[in-house]
């Protein structure tokens, strides 16, 4: 029986079509994002991919992406965090009180906010990890508590504006270190008003690094006799990713350059992707989510890891809270309202499993942008918020149905 199963798998792998079918989920998400972008690009007469809108798109979704990184880990470990929207709002409020009312130095205030986020995560994670109280309940309570706490902190009022040095974490752009002459020369070459060389270089550099890493991985996999994707797919996928990256960063380059937030988001995404896929602790989190009892009996300190997953979530919610407040240039009691649902939706659209143990950082990030592009595109088209909600809901449902269907077909 085992032997026949083996030949069966190998047989399936030979056809390119068959390969696509088996890896539909991974490619599907990428294609879905591209298709949605192409659709809105056409329907909005090119507004979607205008440099200013691309920049906006990144800024608008930055805090969702940042929180999705932490949420992915929480969900992979088999839990959920409903409190992140409230915590984000609370930390935004806290930063406003510290900086505007108490006149604390910005960097000190930021450190305090991150510590507060960690503490909030710890307070919730403690009950989940060491007392076995369902995370749904604990964080539902947290959601109410911190929603109330932000109202209390702000006394129901908006608080702003922030000093310039705080605003830049969301609205600032990285200064272009290259001589202006190069930028002007490139601008002339491409026939645009200006080109931020750093942004363009980042796009090219990132593409080169991705291609190099993928090649290395592919060579290694081949060396160990692992099944690799067909060459056509490999190059096709890399080409799409590289072109898309350069394209997006070129758009940014012709506007104001590299947003600070993109840098934060990009660096965090890389760190978390590496952490989840290549480190001992990351691997143990997947095992814990896949089968907590088996992981525990294998010597994994499951309680501590669960606890840390929530602490980490708190820290990222704090960072997101500051980005959000800085972007609006004020803290409002409404900030982060219902945002946890967008974050959770992004993670599930990205292919994570409700029961834990499955999910990827890159999936969550792409999922977040898919939602972001839908929001943005529909807003440009002037579709009402009512329809937007309905459509987003259906997209989430479709993604999960697709997952379940795919899985049932395989077994």
């Amino acid at each position: 029986m085992e032997a026949t199963q083996g030949t069966q798998t190998q047989k399936q792998a030979t056809g390119i079509g068959a390969y696509l079918v088996r890896h539909l989920r991974e490619y599907g998400l990428l294609f879905a994002l591209i298709a949605v972008m192409a659709f809105f690009q056409i329907i909005t007469d090119g507004t979607l991919l205008r440099p200013v809108n691309v920049t906006n798109l990144l800024l608008q979704n930055s805090y969702i992406v940042i929180m999705a990184l932490g949420m992915l880990i929480v969900i992979v470990s088999g839990h959920i965090d409903l409190s992140v929207g409230s915590v984000m709002g609370f930390i935004g409020a806290l930063s406003a009180v510290l900086i505007i009312e108490l006149d604390l130095p910005v960097y000190l205030a930021m450190a305090v906010c991150i510590a507060a986020g960690a503490l909030i995560g710890a307070a919730q994670g403690y009950w989940v990890a060491y007392w076995g109280i369902p995370s749904f309940i604990v964080t539902l309570a947290g959601m109410l508590v911190f929603r109330g706490a932000s109202l209390w902190l702000l006394e129901g009022q908006s608080l702003g504006p922030f000093p310039r040095e705080f605003q830049v974490i969301a609205n600032g752009f990285v200064a272009d270190p290259f001589p202006a002459a190069i930028g002007e020369a490139l601008a002339g070459l491409f026939g645009v008003a200006r080109v931020n060389v750093l942004a363009l270089m980042t796009g090219v550099g990132a593409s080169v690094i991705i291609v190099w890493l993928e090649l290395k991985k592919r060579a290694q996999n081949q060396f160990y006799g692992m099944q690799v994707e067909p060459a056509a797919f490999f190059w096709g996928r890399l080409a799409i990713v590289a072109v898309a990256l350069i394209f997006i960063l070129f758009k940014l380059a012709t506007f104001r350059g590299l947003p600070n937030v993109l840098l934060t988001m990009g660096v965090l995404t890389l760190i978390y992707a590496f952490f989840t896929e290549r480190t001992v602790t990351g691997r143990r989190i997947y095992a814990l989510g896949g089968n907590v009892k088996a992981a525990k009996l294998s010597g994994v300190k499951t309680e501590r890891l669960t606890f840390l997953a929530f602490v980490n979530m708190g820290v990222l919610a704090a960072i997101a809270g500051m980005v959000f407040a800085a972007r609006l240039n004020s803290a409002t009691p409404k900030a982060g309202f219902a945002l946890e649902l967008d974050v959770i939706a992004a993670v599930f659209i990205g292919g994570a499993s409700m029961s834990g143990g499955v999910g990827k950082i890159i999936g969550a990030v792409v999922g977040a942008f898919l939602m972001g592009v839908l929001n943005n595109g529909m807003s440009i088209m002037g579709i009402g918020i009512d329809y937007q909600q309905v459509i987003k809901g259906l997209v989430l449902l479709a993604a999960v149905i697709f997952d379940v269907y795919n899985k049932s077909k395989r077994t």
Binding site: M1, A3, Q8, K11, Y224, M226, V280, K296, G357, T411
Partner: protein, 506 residues
Amino acid sequence: MSVLLEMRGITKEFPGVKALDRVNLTVSEGEILALVGENGAGKSTLMKVLSGVYPAGTYDGEIHYDSQLADFAGITDSEALGIIIIHQELALVPLLSIAENIFLGNECARAGVINFREMERRTVGLLEKVGLSEAPGTLIDSLGVGKQQLVEIAKALSKDVRLLILDEPTAALSETDSQALLDLMLELKEQGVTQIIISHKLNEVRRVADKIVVLRDGATVSAMDAGEEDISEHRIVRDMVGRDMAQRYPARERRAGDLLMEVDGWNVFHPLYPDRQVIHDVSLSVRAGEVVGIAGLMGAGRTEFAMSLFGRSYGQRISGSVSMHGQPVDVSTISRAIDAGLAYVTEDRKALGLVLDETIERNITLSNLPEVARGQILNEAEETRVAEDYRRALNIRTPSVFQHVVNLSGGNQQKVVLSKWLFAKPEVLILDEPTRGIDVGAKFEIYGIINDLSEQGKGVIVISSEMPELLGICDRIYVMNEGAFVGELAAAEASQERIMSLIVTH
């Protein structure tokens, strides 16, 4: 006797696999037929075809039931004709009562309102038939597996069963419960219920079956009539594995080196009831290269003892001392126990041993990730190399170590769990029911692995409910009953009778 069921030329294909290849099966009214074969031989698939789980049209061949051509579109069709399957994993709702479970989906109700009195009255009658003395209102949750099995049978009887199919009914049962179940099968036969039993346990099969059909690789290999032929276990095993297995247990040289591990005065209390002592003053020793068995009935406390020893993963108020090479060691948490050189291979590999939705590779390295990492950073190439080594060494049958373990057969899953613990480089391995639910061929391989471990000078403690297995592979056997060791026998002086008598006289 007239023929109740005839399956002719049943062929069932899955993409790329022929699960059943022109299987013929004839069951006469009122007999018990035993279906035996290795895991993956096609027994369960055949029963799924019969019960309509795979509807007519998805397989080739014909089913004649009660002289009628039967083409079931689903399980309701087959149940309507009195064909009922009791699956290995029981399908009872734990928090409903016995009566509610028996009539689940078939409630005694008028206009949707349940008549509980009528339901309980009928339940009492059914429970009497299966010999279960429990109140109909008892929650399933509070019953042991043996009694739950009886409730399943009562449920089948409530549906006017004519052909009862039992899939590995005794796999999770203790010796006494198994015997009671087999007696019940014989009694039901008297009442005219035709039965098919799927089992790995040949002694049970021989006890109840009128006819034995052996399946191998999706085809019928032999059909033996218990009344006429002299059926030896030897012959059945040979038909099952397709080769003459001269010995069920590989030969080994008994060797015992220096004292390796010693447990002294081990006491454990129940995790929920701090007053209830589960393990009483247990002391045990293992020498290097020695295979030590722990015999006992289900519920004797063997698993509880092993798990409490392994990082206190069971129980509370644990006292007693553990030493390795004469030095006291700390086994108070699982990671400390692992560091001390202990490994525990669980009896429940799916729930406690494996991350089913992960690859073979990732399961194998889980207990010792730092070994394939530099600091925090994993070396994936090294990880693959390690997994490949174990795949080859333990003969895990899989196209690659990147297969998810959920797709493997029981025997291969067990080898993955063993690999995981071998990779943790332990000195003493506790194997809890290492061959439960796996087929004869894989069992033989597991015994071979145990021998290899002993040759490498490791200490092995084997917990098993199958006494012949312990007698076949151990150097020394402790007998456990009601949480205490009641005897210790050297392999030469041990026998099933002596073990049993130690249990019953204490």
